[in-house]
């Protein structure tokens, strides 16, 4: 185990480095770098947080940029500017950030508030997921509302959201390269929602009770109970729509 606090040139704050197996009590630092396995018993504040390996923060994390290759767990809420995750991030108590780049899995118990989310993998949020731009290739599981100016989901797995609302909502099915002699049933992801409301809506492989919007396109593989639209409505032959009304 090696834990060292080297003084940093900027603003009298020290850096924290943990290499190997280590733990820290938390506090304010300039940069935190973790290589290996670490536990931080308390709240942390820093300008940069870098983790290669495993980090578990038992308090809250307030930081500028966060990059993590590996596993990271924050127990009491996280506020950051730019987050980039290769691996897994779990946050209890809400996650607020400017941008979130995911390559892997992000789980939040509470709500996720970001300007921009982009990535591949799984997003699983127990509360609301709000952002200006939410672009995901993979699957989402949103306990409450998915709210974004631009929402684009390319479905690579079973997805769910109670309510989706926003400006432009696009749900696409995944492009699968067919493997010769191999057919994986249910590999195409599908999305399930109670209601989807937005200005521009394009859906594929989506099951929803109600879809409301200005311009609505219901594509192949959709099962929609009721569509209400204002300007334009188009429906693919492979879609099942119970009822559609112009309002």
């Amino acid at each position: 185990m090696k834990v060292s606090g080297a003084s940093s040139t900027s603003a009298q704050l020290n850096d924290l480095r943990i290499t190997g197996n280590g733990s820290s009590g938390g506090g304010s630092y300039a940069k935190i770098k973790i290589m290996g396995d670490s536990i931080i018993h308390g709240d942390v504040e820093c300008s940069h947080f870098k983790c290669m390996g495993t980090a578990s923060i038992e308090g809250s994390l307030k930081s500028g940029n966060v990059s993590c290759t590996g596993n990271m767990k924050v127990h009491q809420g996280m506020h950051s500017e730019d987050i980039s995750i290769m691996g897994e991030l779990e946050v209890m108590g809400g996650l607020n950030a400017q941008t979130l780049k995911v390559n892997g899995e992000v789980r939040v118990e509470g709500s996720l508030n970001v300007e921009k989310v982009k990535g591949q993998g799984t997003l699983s949020i127990s509360g609301d997921c709000q952002g200006e731009e939410i672009i995901i290739r993979g699957s989402v599981d949103i306990g409450n509302m998915l709210n974004g100016e631009v929402i684009e989901i390319k479905l690579y797995g079973p997805s769910r959201a109670r309510e989706i609302g926003g400006g432009k909502i696009t749900i696409n099915k995944a492009m699968m390269i067919p493997l010769i002699g191999k057919y994986a049933p249910g590999a195409n992801g599908a999305l399930q929602a109670d209601s989807i409301e937005g200005d521009e809506i394009r859906l594929e492989n989506t099951k929803a009770a109600v879809v409301r919007g200005r311009n609505v396109y219901i594509g192949a593989g959709c099962e929609i109970g009721l569509v209400e639209y204002k300007n334009e409505y188009k429906q693919d032959n492979g879609a099942e729509v119970g009822q559609y009304n112009r309002i």
Binding site: N147, G165, G166, S195, E197, D199, A209, E228
Partner: protein, 212 residues
């Protein structure tokens, strides 16, 4: 008290806004979370809003969004206090409160170098209620004392100020929501004032002057 609800669909029809706008405003907290009321209807779940509050709010946003950015607007509507503090001369010069009210306030709680937003809010509410004739000077004293002692605990929440009278005796209190309060017949509701609306008015009044 406020059982009059409007469905989301009807709201969009009346106000002419789009789903995108509504959700954008929700994201920016221009419309408080607790105004979104979910109820079951024949299509499953539907969202409803308190009719008068939401229509007034949407009208305000539409009218002001050309002058203020959405973030500035969010600040106006936020129930949390503003940052500013002002001197007594500024309060008078900028016509935020009258000298008469300020004197009364100073008489009750002492002279201050600078007034924080919470103080100004208290003076503003005092003036508003005195002017409307609902509040007597003695009750003004109650108001200032109560606000001073307890408002801090409710700051940032949608607090309400309530004044009731029974047999000429006034009782004034602050509460998070006065929706579920029932009194005996002899009690008269004199004032029921949501603090958030006064904060809104005050912030607008202070902003106006800054720009002018």
């Amino acid at each position: 008290m406020d059982d009059d609800l409007i469905s989301k669909k009807e709201l969009l029809e009346i106000t002419g806004i789009s789903y995108g706008q509504l959700y954008r405003w929700k994201r920016k907290s221009l419309i408080p979370e607790d105004w979104f009321i979910r109820k079951s209807s024949y299509t499953g779940q539907e969202t409803f809003f308190p009719r008068h509050k939401i229509i007034a709010r949407v009208d305000k946003i539409i009218n002001m969004k050309d002058d203020l950015s959405l973030d500035e607007l969010a600040d106006v509507f936020s129930p949390s206090a503003g940052e500013t503090s002002l001197r007594s001369t500024e309060l008078i010069e900028r016509n935020i409160v009258s000298l008469l009210t300020l004197d009364l306030y100073v008489e009750i709680s002492g002279q201050q170098e600078e007034f924080t937003f919470d103080h100004i809010l208290c003076i503003y509410i005092l003036e508003k209620l005195l002017k409307s004739g609902e509040l007597s000077r003695e009750e003004g004293l109650l108001l200032v004392r109560t606000m001073e002692e307890h408002y801090g605990k409710l700051a940032g929440k949608n607090a309400e100020l309530v004044l009731i009278r029974k047999m000429g005796v006034s009782i004034l209190f602050l509460t998070e929501s006065a929706d579920q309060l029932y009194f005996d017949k002899g009690v008269k509701w004199v004032i029921r004032l949501p603090i958030a609306s006064s904060i809104e008015e005050l912030k607008l009044k202070m902003n106006e002057r800054e720009e002018a």
